[in-house]
């Protein structure tokens, strides 16, 4: 029974929507060697009244990671504002930082969430 629980938990961690420990980021699959630089995830409201969300990713591995990200924006009632965005490619070189950012297109957006996939297979139809 104990073995079954441990196996289930391990599989869940490997294949499920892994939590990065940050409520503003959902990882589709494992984050692998990528981590969010602490304190880098934030949003600002620009002169147009639109919020821009940004984060810095760090690759701890020894090879370049071709990852994908996109953002979701929410209003004050935590309802999603706008349609789902298309996935943006980002290359994160070994032992390097790479910034990512998104902008809401309506002033109704007050909150954001990043979706991240360290592997193209997780966000590919084929």
């Amino acid at each position: 029974m104990k073995k079954l629980i441990i196996t289930s938990l391990s599989l869940g961690m490997l294949f499920g929507c892994a939590s990065s420990g940050n409520s503003k980021l959902t990882s589709i699959g494992s984050m692998g060697n990528i981590e969010i630089v602490q304190g880098s995830m934030r949003s600002i409201r620009n002169a147009n009244g639109l919020i821009t969300a940004q984060a810095v990713l760090h690759n701890n591995g020894s090879s370049t990671v071709s990852a994908f990200y996109r953002c979701k924006f929410f209003d004050t009632n935590q309802m999603q504002v706008g349609d789902d965005q298309v996935w943006m490619p980002v290359s994160i070189y070994q032992n390097s930082d790479q910034g990512i950012k998104c902008m809401a297109n309506t002033a109704e957006a007050t909150d954001f969430k990043f979706e991240f996939s360290a592997d193209a297979k997780n966000v590919n139809n084929f």
Partner: protein, 190 residues
Amino acid sequence: MKKTLIKLSLLGSLALVGCATPKVSYVDPNAVTTLNTNFSQQDLDRVAQNMATNLIQSGKMNQCKSYTLSTIKNSTDQYIDTSSTTSSVSDQLSQSSAITATDVGIVGSLSQNQDQELNNQQSGKYDDSTTVKQGKMIAADCRLDGVLRSDSQTNGKQTQVTYSFSMQLIKIQQGVIIWRKTDKIAKGLN
């Protein structure tokens, strides 16, 4: 014996290939497509999203009272329906609450439809008090132009195709460029 074996192999192949029914399913149109190095619908959406976001963020669009979008020029060696790129940029701009300029982007086939309707209403078939008048359309203050280019590099089995998408916002009266951006997408095959 040999003939029997050949017949059995053929039957087996038919059973494996012939009876397989292709399965159709709905897929996410926003998902990543890495089937080939061609400029895909997702690439189109990606550049349109980047361009519109950058333009909205620059605030330059609000220097225009109204704007029109020219059909984006395709300077690649592929067939690409660039009118969908134009529509995608236009959609993103018109959905933004930060854009105050009015989209008067009636170009291409839409312009033909508009001309046809205007001429139709002036044909004498309709009650004059209900018809629209010629010369009342709002002219664009600014124009958004775009061009898509590609560059291909091959080395044996390795190929890299880089697509450059450039857009510029022009004040029509003065003929000056008030915003300009180039976005690149590179796709590799190895």
